[in-house]
């Protein structure tokens, strides 16, 4: 297996966009291409994450049009990756596989999504489509509903009164908004308080509005290449040290899903490939689609013992400067969650963190050398973990 690196990265401002999905992706991709000091014609394949283009813009078959929009040659294959919210991480992982295995030398991976065009009822319906449809989706389960159900299981299992758990969940939102307020690309650049979270409208009991990430438009892209080529392209190539992906069963078969087995398995694979342990991770972008989602993710990733992560949030261990900073970008919660692009936006953050580029922004994790991205698709149907690191 060849060593694989990230050269350039690119990302649009997240939020409401007046651009098409393809236009957004083209901007992010061109930033990554220019940042890699290459030309579009150097790219040998495009792996594009997109989930609901069909519903958002009536646009299926987005990958080839995106490829030609940015000037990839007519002989360049382009593929759409659909893994719900983990689509772009799947695209990056497959790009890693293709380059590591020697089939391609330069792959453009990323994703794009224009959710706000759908409006809340249709967007809520389309997101529901990522749950198993025959025995689960027909109950009218929503994605906030999934993590609402999980929150109550978690409260019961670990004997944490729901009122206490909800306070700690609110602290996750407060932390991520604090980080996102400093991120010029974030959808919500506004700090919030625990009181504001706890007084918001109820979405799916016990989750309130500010426990939930927003619907978002946005795109992100990264160039994945060999170590040899990356060294020629950029001053600070970032290595992909390990990748892991799991396939989870529908929730009714997982039963108590406070411990998400597909995530434990995916993380184990990624750590083993990188030859490291959870304690070696300096910074992580974790799938905080809902406040409880971040809490359970950090346990499955091995940062905290099961049942203890909400207490760690309260103690500030996941703040920048804490034991393991989680979501310095603001996370999905504050930065936004354009589901086809999210994994690539997490990669954008971690690549720049390990290159030490966020000192001015005020969110640099000091001395960060190894970072992890964690992306969840559906209600854990897909989990994709990727570990990035820099030499020296």
């Amino acid at each position: 297996m060849r060593k694989v690196c990230v050269a350039g990265v690119g990302m649009t401002k997240f939020g409401k966009s007046e651009k098409s999905s393809i236009e957004m992706f083209a901007e992010a991709a061109m930033e990554a291409i220019i940042g890699s000091n290459i030309k579009p014609s150097d790219i040998q394949c495009l792996y594009l994450g997109n989930v609901f283009g069909d519903f958002e813009e009536g646009q299926a078959l987005m990958a080839p049009y995106a490829a030609r929009e940015i000037g990839l040659s007519v002989g360049t294959p382009s593929l759409r990756f659909e893994g719900a919210c983990a689509s772009a991480s799947m695209a990056i992982r497959d790009a890693f596989v293709a380059v590591a295995g020697g089939f391609y030398d330069v792959v453009l991976a990323g994703g794009t999504e224009r959710e706000l065009a759908m409006g809340t009822p249709l967007a809520t319906r389309t997101f529901n489509m990522a749950t198993e449809q025959y025995y689960e989706g027909m109950t009218g389960l929503t994605f906030p509903g999934v993590f609402a159900i999980l929150s109550r299981l978690y409260s019961k299992k670990y004997g944490i009164p729901l009122s206490k758990l909800k306070e700690r969940m609110a602290m996750v939102a407060v932390k991520n908004h604090k980080n996102g307020a400093k991120n010029p690309l974030a959808q919500f650049r506004k700090e919030i308080t625990v009181e504001e979270v706890l007084s918001g409208p109820m979405i799916a009991e016990p989750l309130q509005l500010l426990d939930c990430c927003p619907f978002t438009d946005g795109a992100a892209a990264i160039i994945i290449t060999t170590e040899e080529k990356a060294k020629k392209m950029v001053e600070k190539p970032v290595y992909i040290l390990g990748v892991g992906q799991g396939s989870g069963a529908p929730l009714y078969r997982q039963k108590d899903f406070t411990l998400i087995e597909s995530r434990v398995a995916a993380a184990k694979t990624a750590y083993a490939m990188a030859g490291i342990e959870p304690k070696d991770i300096d910074v992580a972008e974790v799938h905080d689609c809902f406040t409880t989602a971040e809490i359970v993710a950090t346990e499955c990733l091995g940062f905290f013992d099961f049942g203890t992560a909400s207490e760690a949030v309260e103690k500030g261990e996941t703040q920048i400067g804490g034991r393991i900073p989680i979501n310095p970008s603001g996370g999905l919660k504050s930065k936004g969650h354009p589901i086809g692009a999210t994994g690539a936006a997490q990669a954008y953050e971690i690549v720049k963190q390990v290159r030490g580029e966020f000192v001015e922004r005020g969110t640099q994790v000091e001395g960060a050398k190894i970072g992890l991205t964690d992306t969840l698709g559906g209600d854990s149907g897909v989990i994709c973990n990727i570990i990035y690191g820099i030499k020296g």
Binding site: T120, P121, L122, T124, R125, F127, N128, M129, Q133, Y134, Y135, E136, M138, T139, G140, L141, T142, P144, G145, A148, I149, L150, R152, L153, S155, K156, L162, P201, M202, I203, A204, E205, P206, L207, A249, L251, Y252, R253, K255, D256
Partner: protein
């Protein structure tokens, strides 16, 4: 190859019968149905009628619904006597009065709710409607 498809499972549920699979190799139950035993992967299994009795493990009240659904309503997960968990709605509790202590741990029987064909569904649907014992 399939001993119990979703359609057969739905038809029985509509008639008040909760079907599942019993594995002839490991003895465990799988419901809702799938091709192989959920525990050991064996296809040596048979269709059985389950007791239709269980206990609520967790729930939520959906306040913001997908297109085609009217909030509020309760979505819950119940553990059946035979072991499998089902997801369904709770039929006989006012969503505004649903709290952890009057829902979680309560015994239920499994009824059925029939959903008409909607946008993006292939056919009519049937989902478990849990009835909390008085």
């Amino acid at each position: 190859m399939y001993k119990l498809t979703y359609k057969q499972y739905f038809e029985a549920l509509k008639e008040g019968k909760l079907l599942g699979l019993k594995c002839n190799d490991c003895g465990s139950y799988t419901a809702p149905p799938k091709l192989c035993c959920d525990k050991c992967g064996s296809t040596n299994n048979e269709v059985v009628t389950l007791s239709g009795k269980g206990v609520i493990k967790t729930f939520t009240v959906i306040r913001v619904a997908p297109e085609g659904y009217d909030a509020p309503y309760i979505v819950a997960m119940a553990e059946l006597e035979e072991g499998p968990w089902l997801m369904g709605n709770i039929a006989n509790v006012d969503p505004d009065k649903a709290k952890m202590d009057n829902i979680i741990g309560k015994k239920v029987t499994v009824g059925a709710k029939v959903l008409p064909k909607m946008n993006y569904t292939p056919d009519e649907g049937v989902t478990p409607a849990f009835i909390i014992a008085e």
